[in-house]
Amino acid sequence: MVIELNSWFADKLLTATWETLYMVIISTFFSYLFGLPLGVILVTTSEGHILESKGVNRVLGAIVNATRSIPFIIFLILLIPLTRLIVGTSIGTVASIVPLTLAAIPFVARLVETSLKEIDWGLIEAALSMGASAWQVIHKVLIPEAKPSLILGVAITAINLIGYSAMAGIVGGGGLGTLAYYYGYQRYETPVMWATVIVLIIMVQGIQMIGDALAAKVISRRR
């Protein structure tokens, strides 16, 4: 009986872990697909920068701030109609990717902005003095120079998304959140709750370690 239960449980846990990883990886990817350019625009349109534009900067900044100020759990509910429109359903892992991505985009944009702002203006000036276009400055100077910091940003985003995905799980998003909520909380199966917590800790540690290692590798090569 115990063994049977354990194998059933291990199966569930493995599936849920995989679902969470899937949601996090896909939504991290999509949030960078949109958040990276948005962060670049936020930096380059700021005052005195290569594409200075007060209007664009202010509007985008305001949108980013507004989105970031909505608590994720409310964001999830607000986005249900949009999710239905895009995925056809609002339940399950695929459906969770929509709110996860949309919530992470402004977060990523700010992270990218911070990373790119750290780059010495002298490097940008040097590139401009050689006749570089704004695009060349962005993809030959800003992004490569900020690479270690950007990599760490990806790790932070992925870790944040793990937390968000657990929240999404509570409203039927699948993954470890659903497992912990339905079995661990509603059915009082405390070991299930603990098991998911342990898996989540390992996942977060793992991602942070990978991020740190990749960033360190880039930095050490440059030294």
């Binding site: 010495d120 002298g122 490097l123 000036e125 040097a126 590139a127 401009l128 003095s129 050689m130 006749g131 570089a132 276009s133 060349q136 030959k140 100077v141 490569p144 120079e145 690479k147 090569r221 440059r222 030294r223």
Partner: protein, 343 residues
């Protein structure tokens, strides 16, 4: 090669306007090394940045090789910038690229075909003496090596002009000398016009043909380096020259001149040498001719543009008439002679 006409730059901050450059007019000849010296905040950095439009002038014109840089659209400006090399105080090398790829960078911007660019980079690294460091990252280089990479990078697209923004200010004196040597070598070999800004009169003395002194946003003096050194017309120029030549008279000598007073048999004189006359044995001739004794108390002889320049403070002892004649003899040789006691 570079013509700056009526260049004015005003920074507007809320509540006030700061005039950083005030009606600057300069002409820099092809193939010369032209130095602009000024204290920090004098406006020299803004001035050099106006030449490739990293700073937009408020008014005035800048003509580089016949092209009015201030009248170009952004695309034309990018093309013009490829022909104006620039080196920086803090080198500004990309840490994400090897030395080879840093030098490759301007060639990528200009869209030079890969094979040709490869060849060019190798050539440039050889020119600056870093052929063996091609695959190293800038983080592993010394300051002097970094500036050599900066120079190679600035030369990549065969510029007509090289702008140097305090390129040696972050380097120690020995490295400074070797970088200045390299710049001079490049200037001679490629007949490249170099415009440099500095706060260090040694840099001007070492390699410049002509110099402009900028003070409080204005050019206060322009001329041949030797001319400015021998005959500075403004207090600020005099101060700069004193930093390398020490034209001031030491305290002890002033005391001694007071002690001597209007003595007839001893005169304290300071002789300034400019150019060729410093190579002739004038002091020896004077001693022999007038039978006076010359006691060398203080001296400073240097070379500017290969010509000797400096001053000697002497105490002349002898019969009054002969001492006077000896002083006149030196004056007649077109040397600047000051009598520090009496008179």
């Amino acid at each position: 090669m570079i013509e700056i006409k009526g260049l004015t730059k005003i920074y507007k901050t809320p509540g006030q306007e700061i005039k950083v450059l005030d009606n600057v007019n300069l002409y820099i000849k092809k193939g010369e090394i032209f130095g602009i010296i000024g204290l920090s905040g004098a406006g020299k950095s803004t001035l050099v940045r106006c030449i490739n439009m990293l700073e937009k002038p408020t008014s005035g014109q800048i003509i580089v090789d016949g092209q009015d840089i201030t009248a170009l659209n952004s695309r034309e400006l990018r093309a013009a910038r490829q022909k104006i090399g620039m080196i920086f105080q803090h080198f500004n090398l990309l840490s994400s690229r090897t030395v080879f790829n840093n030098v490759m960078f301007p060639l990528e911007i200009a869209g030079v075909p890969r094979r040709e660019a490869d060849r060019r980079v190798k050539e440039l690294l050889k020119l600056v003496g870093l052929a063996d460091k091609a695959e190293v990252y800038p983080g592993q280089l010394s300051g002097g090596q970094k500036q050599r990479v900066g120079i190679a990078r600035a030369l990549a697209n065969d510029p007509k002009v090289l702008l140097s923004d305090e390129a040696t200010s972050a380097l120690d004196p020995q490295t400074t000398r070797s970088i200045l040597g390299l710049l001079k070598d490049i200037n001679r070999r490629l007949n490249l016009t170099i415009l440099l800004i500095t706060h260090d009169m040694n840099v001007i003395k070492e390699i410049c043909d002509r110099v402009a002194v900028i003070h409080n946003s204005k050019i206060v003096e322009v001329g041949d380096v030797l001319e400015i050194f021998s005959n500075p017309r403004t207090p600020i120029s005099r101060n700069f020259i004193n930093t390398v030549m020490n034209r001031d008279i030491p305290e002890e000598l002033l005391y001694r001149s007071k002690q001597l007073g209007a003595s007839m048999t001893a005169k304290l004189i300071r002789v300034t040498f400019i150019g060729e006359s410093a190579e002739e044995p004038v002091i020896t001739s004077m001693i022999k001719k007038y039978n006076v004794k010359a006691n060398i108390l203080y001296g400073n002889i240097d070379r500017i543009k290969g010509k000797p320049f400096g001053n000697l403070t002497l105490e002349l002892l002898g019969e009054p008439a002969l001492v006077d004649k000896a002083v006149n003899y030196l004056k007649n040789l077109d040397l600047e002679v000051e009598v520090l006691n009496g008179d």
